[in-house]
């Protein structure tokens, strides 16, 4: 089997991450319950005629993919695979509202066409005139990891050489209101430094797009080798450590071999225990970092965790703002990302310096 490498990364998030030259050195301080992506100038990347029908999620996905392709230095890929938990919420809400408001009459095509979950992958393919494998995984908080796993298997089996993989979510006003009603969003605004100590239910909701070119061709500029991707729809809290040890063992590693662990703490008092038990036990001597205080929670925000891990490995630097503990990691070469959302859809992504 061939090895798989992350050859480029691109992130549009609530932080200034779309300019890949910097690395979380100019943090936007939020004090909100819902945070939007910090937008690049989309007009610089998408022709006006194409952009006018695109809602924000599509624009974020298209631009993040273009940035990833540019960094990888390639014009096309052998597959485009995206993950999204909620899909194109804005056009979905627009279309469903039109059905209700107009008594099922006068339905226009644009919002319907743009509302499907695979719109982003389709628009990316149209933009680069790529007729190759095009797939979108919709699986809540493991949507991105499902896409990444598909890419990894294709590359390992040499069925493809370069694959564009990404995760994208956009905020929709109505859906956000619903999440607020069911207490999945925090009841009060919270600053990024206080998220983990908020002691309240729910998370700070957000949006964003994170894209990667993964390849079985290692470059000097590659970020990391992708050793493992594992997903679990259900996993009991007391089985998480075992699952982690099992994945590490399959890669001839033990918890103490990890230089850094990237955790998905979002400050939800009901579910952060999944991470805290690891912090206090199998990872108590490991450098721990987190990121959802900076970029919020959404179904594919774990792709930002992979972005963060990739960047740490390549730059060999860990921004102070992501430190979860004080342990030093002088040579961050092997990093494990662990994420779950509301106790379900757990994922492990293991990266190594290459």
């Amino acid at each position: 089997m061939k090895k798989v490498y992350i050859n480029s990364i691109a992130s549009i998030s609530p932080q200034k991450t779309f300019e890949n030259a910097s690395f979380l050195d100019d943090i936007i301080e939020y004090n909100e319950t819902v945070i939007s992506a910090f937008d690049p100038n989309y007009k610089e990347h998408i022709p006006p005629a194409a952009a006018r029908r695109m809602a924000k999620g599509i624009k974020m996905g298209v631009v993040a993919s273009k940035l990833a392709m540019k960094e990888a230095g390639i014009g096309t890929v052998d597959a485009i695979i995206t993950g999204t938990g909620m899909g194109c919420m804005i056009d979905s809400e627009k279309f469903v509202s039109a059905i209700i408001d107009n008594n099922e009459q006068y339905l226009t095509p644009t919002s319907f066409i743009q509302s499907t979950h695979n719109t982003v992958a389709g628009q990316i393919a149209l933009g680069m005139e790529c007729k190759a494998y095009n797939f979108t995984y919709v699986h809540a908080a493991i949507s991105f990891e499902s896409a990444l796993l598909d890419a990894k298997m294709q590359l390992e089996n040499d069925e493809a050489n370069n694959i564009l993989v990404g995760g994208v979510e956009e905020l929709g006003a109505h859906t956000t209101d619903v999440h607020r009603v069911i207490n999945h969003i925090k009841p009060e605004a919270v600053t990024i430094s206080e998220v983990l100590n908020s002691n309240t239910e729910g998370a700070v909701f957000s949006e964003g797009a994170n894209f990667f070119v993964v390849s079985n061709d290692r470059k000097e500029s590659s970020y990391a080798e992708l050793l493992a991707v594992e997903t679990y729809n259900t996993l009991e809290k007391d089985k998480v450590s075992e699952a982690i040890k099992s994945v590490l063992k399959e890669n001839n590693l033990k918890p103490e071999d990890l230089d850094v662990v990237v955790l998905g703490n979002n400050g939800d008092v009901e579910f952060d225990g999944y991470y805290n038990q690891l912090s206090k036990n199998i990872f108590k001597n490991t450098k721990q970092v987190y990121y959802k205080h900076l970029v919020g929670e959404n179904n594919t925000v774990s792709a930002f965790g992979v972005w963060l891990a990739s960047k740490i490995i390549k730059t060999q630097q860990i921004p102070a703002m992501v430190n979860l503990n004080d342990i030093e990691a002088t040579e961050p070469n092997i990093i494990l990302c662990y994420n779950q959302y509301r106790g379900e859809n757990h994922s492990l992504v293991l990266l190594k310096k290459c």
Binding site: P48, A51, R52, R53, Q105, Y106, T108, T110, I113
Partner: protein, 85 residues
């Protein structure tokens, strides 16, 4: 009629998301499709729905749209002669 034409221009901009176009930039006789505003077949469907919803004009043959949507002037003339609301 002049009021209707201004109304149509504003609706075209809003419903077709022509972000970089203003009402003043659309002349009454500008071609809406092709070299003019550059609208496409999806826009034509949007305009057909707009005629039905806002002016009570239901096109039995979508191909009629090709003539009716030639320009804002032609659209306004057609709406003025056929509107039911």
């Amino acid at each position: 009629m002049s009021e209707l034409k201004e109304e149509l221009k504003a609706k075209i901009i809003e419903q077709l998301n022509l972000e970089d176009v203003s009402v003043e930039e659309i002349a009454d006789d500008d071609a809406l499709f092709g070299d003019g505003l550059g609208l496409d077949s999806i826009d034509a469907l949007e305009l057909i729905v707009m005629l039905d919803k806002d002016y009570g004009i239901r096109l039995s043959d979508p191909k009629e749209g090709r003539k009716i949507f030639e320009s804002v002037q032609v659209m306004a003339d057609y709406i003025d002669a056929n509107r039911t609301k």
